[in-house]
Symmetry: C2
Subunit: 237 residues, 2 copies
């Protein structure tokens, strides 16, 4: 299957060191809510901090996350980094980047993805109305998410940002008062998503814990002890 070969070339272009290779091609085809994409992709695995694609790379493939979490980020010349989005299982990335990828995609944790060639996506979009509709919806949802993120970075305080972030994760996971939410990303990732430093994120989390608004049983979980307080804090008391 020539797609497999192309994938390999594309991946090499992402500057993952040879050592980081090989990703295993696990299977061709996987479950997918979007019927038309079902048999279009092949599955790849990436280890922690491996690069899936880089900003500026030719966008030959899109990816659907099967397991693990991907961060989409921009690296500035002087090392500053801004994470635009955490892509979770069931979500897509690199979709509809005509020409070249606008972000670098890196594996936050062990990740498996289905790769779909952009050509296939475009063809599907041109021929199937349902697919088209889904893609427009996808773009619109992306835009909405980015809009909320924008307001957060522009006008919320450090505490508001961290709390909003926890609530966003809770919302995505369907967590309720008293439930635990997973924090697959590390503190630096959270900081770079929120436009803060790692120390500030730590301090806010410690504060919340001290006030018994959340619990932190380990580095990768937060227990939402008091959702009401969180909601109040999220928009400034």
């Amino acid at each position: 299957m020539s797609v497999a070969f192309d994938i390999t070339r594309d991946a090499r272009a992402t500057r993952v060191s040879e050592k980081a290779l090989p990703w295993s091609v696990i299977s061709a085809g996987s479950k997918d809510d979007t019927q038309e994409l079902r048999q279009a992709g092949i599955t790849l695995r990436f280890g922690r901090n491996e690069t899936i694609f880089s900003e500026g790379d030719e966008a030959k493939y899109s990816y659907k996350v099967l397991s693990g979490v991907i961060r989409l980020c921009k690296h500035m010349a002087d090392g500053r980094r801004q994470i635009a989005e955490f892509v979770q299982p069931g979500d897509y990335c690199g979709l509809l980047n005509f020409g070249e990828h606008r972000f670098t995609a890196e594996a936050v944790s062990e990740v498996t993805v289905t790769a779909i060639s952009q050509r296939q996506v475009e063809t599907l979009g041109e021929n199937t109305p349902a697919m088209r509709k889904w893609m427009t919806g996808f773009l619109t949802r992306s835009l909405m998410g980015m809009q909320d993120h924008l307001v957060m970075l522009g006008r919320q305080t450090a505490k508001e940002r961290v709390v909003s972030f926890l609530l966003m994760l809770a919302d995505r996971a369907g967590a309720e008062d008293g439930d635990a939410v997973e924090l697959p990303m590390n503190r630096q990732d959270i900081a770079d998503y929120l436009g803060l430093t790692i120390e500030t994120v730590c301090r806010v989390l410690s504060d919340l814990k001290r006030c018994r608004i959340i619990g932190l049983p380990n580095l990768h979980q937060a227990i939402l002890t008091n959702m009401d307080a969180l909601h109040d804090l999220a928009d400034g008391e």
Copy 2:
């Protein structure tokens, strides 16, 4: 024409005070790069600070700006405001907000727009491939603009933000070294776009003027005396 009537109802729903009315219906139909939209709209006029639509309003219409500038913003409960975008002549707003508008749109200056019903837009999208392609492109460009804005708010300093803003305006206007760019929005608008205070924006502009990197002949123009210096400042020296 029943569309004209519907426009009136929609506009009233935007809570523009009766005093602020009437907007004049200037003409039906106007020039448009997108052939299919050419005869679809009617033209409306809004005065400075009038609301074109509000966040949460049912999105019955989209708007193409013919003249003037619109700001798209979110208002927080405590009065904080974040501007997501300045919509300039030739640009669109309110497009593809299925259901309800996600932003409040207000006139920065005297504005004339063409209003197009969402139903028409959708129908055009379903039937004409060129229109569909254009709309996908529009969404993608919006997303890209928002992504750059996001990085700016998350990771750039006050000076970098103001400089990037000037360069963005210069780029849009096609201005070169030595040219003047128009600043149709006031300082508060700039501050709310950049996630800063009005005082900080003032100080940075004054600084740039003092260093002879820009000139400020009046409140609504900036002369780009030294584009190279601006580009350097935009990404941290």
